[in-house]
């Protein structure tokens, strides 16, 4: 059993990437991702990883550089946040369309404006439909584990898709947490030291990547891309099973906490899951049958697992860390509502938009949300969605 060490999560995530034999990395520093970019650069400078670290002038260049590197067969990595991810946006769907298994850490931060450097999910949500595998971490250990897993998932022959690992900015990246690092020799066993690329850019064996396609074949290509992303769930589950066998920690697309016999379920995604767990325990102590459902895998969305987790619920309290302006509330809420539309026994669903731009959400806030939603539901006055705790 490896020893636990106290370490800042961003540093730990960089350490994890440093164990993955990454060939090429290009990161442009941006708060709160900076410590990942800086520490990975230190690891390379100290000779602990023979990664080619490209210093780029923007995030658009960072993702473009690793895309080209990945095209040559390299294992490639980048990390960013907020405006940086928005600048990468143009390239993200191209990476997935070209089936290049790049891994990215997103240290989630609110998107401007107004300028705000703190945590919410408004940066990853606009990238939802880029065709990437998108997953959320809840604590430092998961940030380490999932960073390593992401390369294995991305590079599998039946996947070959980029993976985004979301690590809540500050709430996770800047916290010092106890982390258990796997041994390097075990990581080498889990993750082969080199990729087995489907094709590589090489002058001796010519291949065209990113070619032109008109309406006669474009739809077919989009369907092919959708199918491979949907099917990647099977591979993700297999990788997580292997991880559990080797390292003892279990990962599932939907995690649950005290959901058996729960009629009221709270839904979170990302680092607030742990706070919500304590709130659920407090409610349980008071005798209220509540439970917690945590979404780990956002794309491909685990419809089957989610429906199974909420099948007995009468009230579903969804929380969102981003707004779909002029839309149905938050993006997680709209996803869940549409997922349950065809179910015979649909729960009442409401949405609280919380923790925008780093606003703290305490245990007591989750308790208030649950109590309020239960009361409103009894009186039949429940609102579809609201900005929780907003000053009126």
């Amino acid at each position: 059993m490896a020893k636990r060490v106290g370490m800042e999560v961003a540093i730990a995530a960089a350490e994890a990437v440093g164990m993955c034999n990454v060939d090429v990395a290009a990161c442009y520093p941006i708060t709160p991702q900076s410590h990942i970019a800086e520490h990975l650069s230190d690891i390379v400078a100290d000779g602990r990883s023979d990664t080619e670290y490209i210093t780029v002038e923007s995030e658009h260049s960072a993702i473009s550089a690793v895309m080209g590197a990945s095209g040559t067969g390299a294992r490639a990595y980048t990390a960013t946040s907020s405006q940086g991810l928005m600048l990468m946006h143009e390239i993200l769907p191209i990476v997935s369309a070209m089936r290049l298994p790049i891994c990215i850490a997103v240290a989630n931060r609110a998107v401007s404006g107004p300028l705000n450097i703190l945590n919410d999910h408004s940066d990853i949500m606009p990238q939802r439909d880029a065709g990437w595998i998108v997953m959320f971490t809840e604590n430092g250990q998961e940030a380490v584990d999932m960073s390593i897993q992401s390369f294995k998932i991305a590079e599998r022959e039946d996947v070959m898709l980029p993976v985004a690992v979301n690590i809540d900015g500050f709430q996770l990246t800047h916290m010092v947490e106890p982390i258990e690092f796997p041994d390097q020799k075990d990581v080498n066993k889990f993750l082969p030291p080199a990729r087995k690329p489907y094709a590589t850019l090489h002058p001796d064996k010519v291949v065209t990547m990113g070619a032109f396609a008109m309406s006669d074949i474009f739809s077919e290509m989009m369907k092919a891309k959708n199918e491979v992303l949907k099917n990647s769930k099977k591979a993700i589950l297999e990788v997580w099973d292997e991880w559990e066998r080797m390292f003892g920690r279990r990962y599932r697309p939907i995690e649950t906490h005290r959901t058996d016999d729960a009629e009221v379920l709270l839904v979170t995604m990302g680092s607030m899951g742990e706070t919500a767990e304590i709130a659920v325990d407090e409610m349980r102590d008071k005798g209220v049958p509540v439970g917690l459902v945590k979404i780990r895998l956002w794309r491909p969305f685990p419809f089957e697992e989610f429906k199974d987790a909420v099948k007995k619920a009468k009230l579903l309290i969804v929380t969102d860390r981003a707004v779909s302006f002029g839309g149905p509330g938050g993006p997680v809420f709209s996803e869940i509502k549409s997922a349950l539309y065809h179910e015979k026994n649909r729960p009442v669903i409401c949405d609280y938009i919380i923790g925008l731009g780093g606003r703290d959400v305490a245990v007591s806030d989750f308790v208030t949300m649950m109590e309020q939603a239960i009361k409103d539901n009894e009186k039949d006055t429940i609102k579809e969605y609201e900005f929780y705790g907003v000053t009126e």
Binding site: A97, M98, R99, L100, M160, Y198, A199, V206, V207, T208, M209, G210, A211, F212, A213, M214, D216, I217, S219, E220, M221, K223, A224, E227
Partner: protein, 96 residues
Amino acid sequence: MKKEKKWPEAWHEVNVGAMVFEPCSAREYHTGSWKARRPVWDNTRCIKCGLCYIFCPEGCISQNEEGFFEADLNYCKGCGICAHECWPKAITMQEE
């Protein structure tokens, strides 16, 4: 035996990442299908100056053995620049 297809047609025939493994095959992909108009030459007016050949942004106009010019309609997008530049007015754009 199943006849091998030159290009993918169904979604499951698409190469991984839509990669193309045959070098210099771009010319076999006929990109002229979206044109709404095509250039038609009146060779009695043509003075063989070659302006259409020079101005064609697609590079799809070539000179035939008699010295007159023709567009390869597999690539012509129907932009009409050739007709616009042709000062003896030998080229007219016809609706497809």
